[in-house]
């Protein structure tokens, strides 16, 4: 377990190295820590509270390579006050980072297994650290497949990395809800890709992240195919404020998503996910 920050309010100051537009409305920020002894490290699945003094904080999953913690990357959709203000950042500007927080994708526990990563929309960002990890340790795992769905081809994230992932032995299958004439790939929801994927269910682990409705259906499809619900992992999103399980905003039934999650085994949250507006 990554040790918790001693003072949960401690902010690391970072410098923006690059601002990379990804897809419409989505930007990746490359950050480095100002303090060379910051000692920051994260594991795939965790998130930081990104802090713009004077404006506020936003909870954003880490989407960089866990093996290179000094180079922090966050992929962010501009949606609220803080994330919209972030789009005005330039290289050289400062950004506060508080974290890391939350539970992790269990990449260590699933060594030797087949891994299916099912991502939707911006949900690929919290899973990218897993893809880097699996690429680096490819021999430790069985079949590795990435199923990735977005609304349309322009919304596909990280397309320039698919070749490298394929070269590392990962089967990358993108799909879109709708497309124009110049798309020659799959058209359909990501669950359709999962339905078609040959599986050995008991030795398969599924990591899924995206809109909650998508994760529900992906998880249900996996379970219907015989993957144990305890081997399907979802990453939930709730309103994170303190990030340490004290402010109460992020509660989902008995779970504090910031500290009992955001990554959960599906069998733990399955029942409550089906209750409307819970």
């Amino acid at each position: 377990m990554t040790p918790l920050p001693v003072n949960p309010w401690h902010v690391h100051m970072t410098t923006v190295q690059a601002v990379l537009p990804e897809t419409p409305g989505v930007t990746t920020y490359d950050l480095t820590f100002d303090d060379p002894n910051a000692g920051y490290a994260f594991r795939p699945g965790q998130f930081n509270m990104l802090y713009l003094p004077g404006i506020g904080e936003a909870a954003i999953s880490v989407s960089s390579d866990p093996g290179e913690a000094a180079k922090l990357r966050h992929t962010v959709r501009a949606l609220g006050n803080v994330t919209r203000a972030m789009t005005r950042l330039h290289p050289g500007d400062k950004l506060g980072v508080r974290g890391p927080f939350g539970t992790v994708w269990p990449v260590d526990d699933c060594r030797g297994r087949d891994v299916v990563i099912a991502a939707g929309g911006l949900g690929l960002a919290p899973l990218r650290p897993v893809l880097y990890h699996l690429s680096r340790h490819r021999a430790d795992y069985g079949r590795v497949t990435l199923l990735y769905g977005t609304r349309s081809p322009v919304d596909l994230l990280y397309t320039n990395e698919y070749e490298a992932w394929r070269a590392a032995g990962i089967d990358v299958q993108p799909t879109v809800d709708s497309a124009g004439g110049d798309w020659h790939g799959s058209i359909g929801f990501v669950t359709a890709l999962l339905a078609r994927l040959p599986l050995e269910p008991t030795r398969t682990v599924v990591f899924t992240c995206g809109p909650e409705v998508m994760m529900r259906f992906v998880a249900s499809e996996a379970v219907a195919r015989g993957v144990p619900a305890s081997q399907v992992f979802v990453s939930l999103e709730r309103n994170m404020n303190c990030a340490v399980g004290l402010c109460g905003h992020c509660q989902f039934g008995p779970e504090f998503v910031c500290k009992d999650g955001p990554v959960f085994p599906f069998d733990r949250v399955r029942r409550l996910l089906l209750v409307e507006n819970f």
Binding site: G56, L79, G80, N81, G120, G121, L122, G149, T150, R151, D155, T175, D177, S178, A179, G181, W183, H184, G185, S186, I187, G188, F189, T191, A192, A195, R196, G210, P211, V213, M214, F217
Partner: protein, 161 residues
């Protein structure tokens, strides 16, 4: 590449995986393998065709002529999936066209033969139609999820934060 179909081979196709050996033996005479090169058309929207297809390899795109009178790809299908049920349901012309995005191999099953077997053998008929219903329901559910447009939700109220 052999074009002989065996019951074991049919069983590898997701649509027919739950079929019994007896059903598969009855279907064999009506089934043949067909191959379509990339870019070719399997059938057009509005065609009356006499076969149902099960994709064995490659990707097939379903197309409907859209508001601009040009074919619009709405969904792609892959290995094991049922393509075209109108001939078997007797519901008339194809409601979408199908084109091969990559090279495609299908098992084409003669619809008239299948319907005759269904008539002669009600048990077979029931099982076959049940399987078709399940495949169509799954297709409906998958299509609904496409329609939901889940990746770009409109927030329920104007942004507060």
């Amino acid at each position: 590449m052999t074009d002989t179909i065996t019951p074991a081979f049919l069983k590898t196709l997701a649509f027919l995986a739950p079929a019994t050996d007896d059903e598969l033996r009855l279907l064999l005479p009506a089934a043949q393998i067909e191959q379509y090169p990339a870019g070719s058309i399997l059938f057009h929207e509005g065609d009356h065709i006499g076969h149902i297809f099960i994709v064995t390899s490659g990707t097939v795109a379903l197309e409907i002529n859209g508001p601009d009178h040009r074919p619009r790809r709405i969904q792609t299908l892959g290995s094991g999936e049922l393509l075209g049920w109108s001939p078997v349901l007797g519901t008339g012309p194809m409601t979408a066209g199908a084109s091969a995005i990559t090279q495609v191999r299908v098992v084409a099953i003669d619809a008239k033969v299948v319907l005759k077997i269904c008539d002669d053998d009600p048990r077979f008929g029931f099982l076959f139609m049940k399987r078709a219903a399940v495949a169509i329901a799954a297709r409906l559910n998958a299509t609904r999820l496409q329609l939901l447009d889940v990746y770009h939700p409109e927030p329920r109220h104007a942004g507060v934060r």
